[in-house]
Symmetry: C2
């Protein structure tokens, strides 16, 4: 009994001392990030000197080259490119769209959806059918839809506390709506922008056609224009109102591109990896600041902070700038294929692709109640002083997603910043550097570094 008691005291002491050490180390990471952080200046360069980086574009190529140099400059143990073929979709000339109300022609803010086909050079004009869901579309069927432009006007449900949930629910219209409309003989599709904001910006984003199905032109219109159109349709008889859409986007042959990878070698387990990543490509309408310039700049900052603070990880830590998250996910797929081919062991992968806002925590894919209970018991207290302690079950990210099947032992983790502002600017001309806050970005980099450290030290076998 006495021996047992002594052992308990010893173990308790060891646990306290380990917690205290973790606490000191995490504080060190935060100080480095907040006082000597470099991710904000790096992001400024990426946004202002390179700008949009849609897969296959000159901007994407330039960003690969610059990112590799940036990592080399930091003196990581290994910096390399991972070749990957990516789709090359181009928007072409600025789109045009009008509500044609008899003799009136009302301009509509519009942006072709990524991977959409263009219209004929003279555009298309057709009657409009408004639906609020794919179910409504199915209920109307071919007899109503054929020859029309389908107007997907399902609203963003404001009741969700995290906007990502609202985006997921309404997003199905954009991902799958145009393909479904094409099936019923629609000649085009316009989609209400997927955002909680009421404004005049169209939000682009990918749509997916059926492999063998017909491809019809698809575009996003602003939420204010969607409201106006919907009101007009309510007030007037349908045939009086038509919609005109002209866009010249097209998909060119695939292009060779790269994931950019930096690595700090593990001192004990060099072939075991913890990956932190975001995507380097962006949509073409702005600078891809929050989506996902912040994510890649945080990822490299994690490695920089580790080096700058002199922490020697046991396992290898990788920053991965994935290519082509927005319209093909080819970079993520490639990374998984290569990891599997090289028989790498992967402990965890963390994706940061929800904007550079104030951290709130992390979500763990397929986390069991036991896992959640124990990780919270062990680590929540360490992250609480930094208000980044919401450790929940939930999604991770598109780029690291494929790792799960290839390496079943891996834990996939999503960095979760505050979600309120993200979808206001997401995929619009407003996704620019000026909308990123320096401290919020840095706090995110520090929070991810803290989690990488805890995983490196203690593993994830809860």
């Amino acid at each position: 009994m006495k021996k047992f008691l002594l052992l308990s005291i010893f173990l308790a002491g060891a646990a306290i001392s380990s917690q205290a050490q973790d606490s000191v180390q995490i504080r060190r990471f935060y100080d480095e990030a907040l006082v000597k952080g470099q991710c904000y200046d790096n992001l400024r360069y990426l946004c202002k000197k390179i700008g949009q980086r849609l897969s296959g574009s000159a901007g994407a190529a330039k960003s690969v080259e610059w990112s590799k140099k940036l990592m080399e400059g930091y003196g990581f143990d290994r910096v390399y490119l991972q070749e990957v073929m990516v789709p090359h979709w181009v928007r072409g000339a600025k789109e045009q769209a009008y509500i044609m109300d008899g003799k009136n022609k009302i301009a509509v803010p519009v942006a072709a959806l990524g991977m959409s086909v263009g219209t004929p050079a003279s555009g298309i004009t057709a009657n409009i059918v408004e639906v609020r869901s794919l179910k409504e579309l199915d209920a109307l069927g071919e007899s109503v839809i054929k020859g029309k432009i389908v107007f997907f006007n399902g609203p963003f449900d404001q009741r969700f506390i995290e906007t990502g949930a609202g985006y997921g629910a309404a997003g199905i219209q954009r991902f799958a709506g145009p393909a479904a409309a094409a099936k019923y003989g629609a000649v085009g599709a316009i989609v209400r922008s997927i955002t909680p904001a009421l404004d005049d910006y169209p939000h682009t984003g990918g749509t997916v056609y059926a492999e063998s199905g017909k491809k019809i032109p698809a575009a996003a219109i602003s939420t204010l224009a969607a409201n106006k159109l919907s009101n007009m349709l309510k007030l007037r008889k349908l045939p009086l109102i038509k919609f005109y859409l002209k866009q010249s986007c097209q998909t060119l042959p695939d292009v060779k591109s790269y994931n950019v990878i930096g690595e700090i070698k593990g001192s004990e387990n060099p072939n075991k990896f913890i990956t932190v990543g975001g995507h380097l490509d962006s949509w073409d309408l702005a600078e891809g600041a929050h989506d996902d310039g912040t994510g890649v700049m945080q990822s490299v900052e994690v490695l920089r902070i580790i080096k700058a603070t002199g922490y020697k990880p046991k396992n290898s830590i990788r920053a991965v700038f994935f290519m082509n998250e927005e319209n093909g996910h080819k970079g993520g797929i490639k990374y998984t294929e290569q990891a599997a081919a090289d028989k790498e062991e992967h402990i965890a992968a963390i994706e940061t692709d929800e904007g550079g806002f104030t951290p709130r925590g992390f979500s763990f894919e397929d986390a069991s109640p036991k896992f959640l209970k124990e990780i919270n018991k062990s680590w929540k207290g360490l992250l609480e002083p930094y208000e980044a302690d919401r450790l929940t079950a939930g999604g991770s990210g598109t780029d690291i997603g494929p790792l799960k099947e290839a390496i079943p032992s891996i834990k996939l983790i999503g960095f979760r910043p505050d979600s309120q502002r993200y979808f206001d600017i997401h995929h619009t001309p407003n996704d620019v550097f000026e909308n990123v806050n320096k401290r919020e970005l840095e706090l995110g980099a520090a929070a991810i570094t803290a989690l990488v450290y805890l995983i490196d030290q203690h593993g994830l076998n809860f």
Copy 2:
């Protein structure tokens, strides 16, 4: 034993059912706020149609009148004005400041501190002494300071996770620096803007002179200008660099103004109050959007949500728009005096004056460890789905502060939104409606309503 067991089961059942009922009610508040919220549109009116509302100004008078009408329109049980005399400080013509470097004259973004005296019409020119704290000032003393302009350049400590802590630490220079410098014979004081941001905006804010001491002109300069001046002072000999400041601000006779108060009468205890408030006055450089338009608009929204959802509070709930928080606190003092004179019982007061950003929780003044433990045990789970569940010890607010001494049984509570962006725009021309996010504002109103409800239902006797 059996009886005890049955009683336990019954009590546990009652507790669960009460929690379930609370949970449903809170969800109802959030739905109302997020789907039918009115605070964003009300804030737009306050910012865009009325604008700056410095105590004693025409804007302040207009805002009182409009606020009363707004509350009357909502049909609260009682809406009234509470008269209070307030200081009337005016900025006068736009300030001018230059670094005088031999023949070079470098313009400096400058704003007089609130309650500062002006300079002579021709301005003042003097040598500069840079200090980074009041302690440094004391160490230099009269022999060095006399006849100079003291340049308070203490930096904002970025290591604090909540920026309010950094503001408090650096802020002492602005509150107390000019009075301390005057004591040593300084002819003026310039203060580095209290903000984590590095930009070209001067941040105004109040300074406090000693009652019987000399008053010297005091102004804030932008952080970039402060860095430039500091670098120049390092590189060149002191006498070569002088500073020129011209400002025509002055304090006019006190003006009659008002707190604006709306009330829903308690069904059980009409003379017991829960107060929710912010301040209606603002600095004069912008629209006082986050400081504190968001706070007052959230306060009235709490009452509106309670009414709209049909909740009948047991105790009386008050929304108070305090006047003169920024440069005198006269409204807060008046509210306390009147409450004490009327022998009102006050359960709690909640102040929202830290910006309309995403809620993170609430801080409770003088909260004991036992109180914190129990309130977290009882209520954290109810607020967790809304991510507003950080219930901590901490400050409340300037306006409700005086209540503590007058009514010792009261609990003072601060609404705590995310703090990262607040001090970037605080007291600058950037504190405008466009920098407020609709959902963030609404989530705050809903969180405060939830807390008011829980206090109304269960009290705060933890």
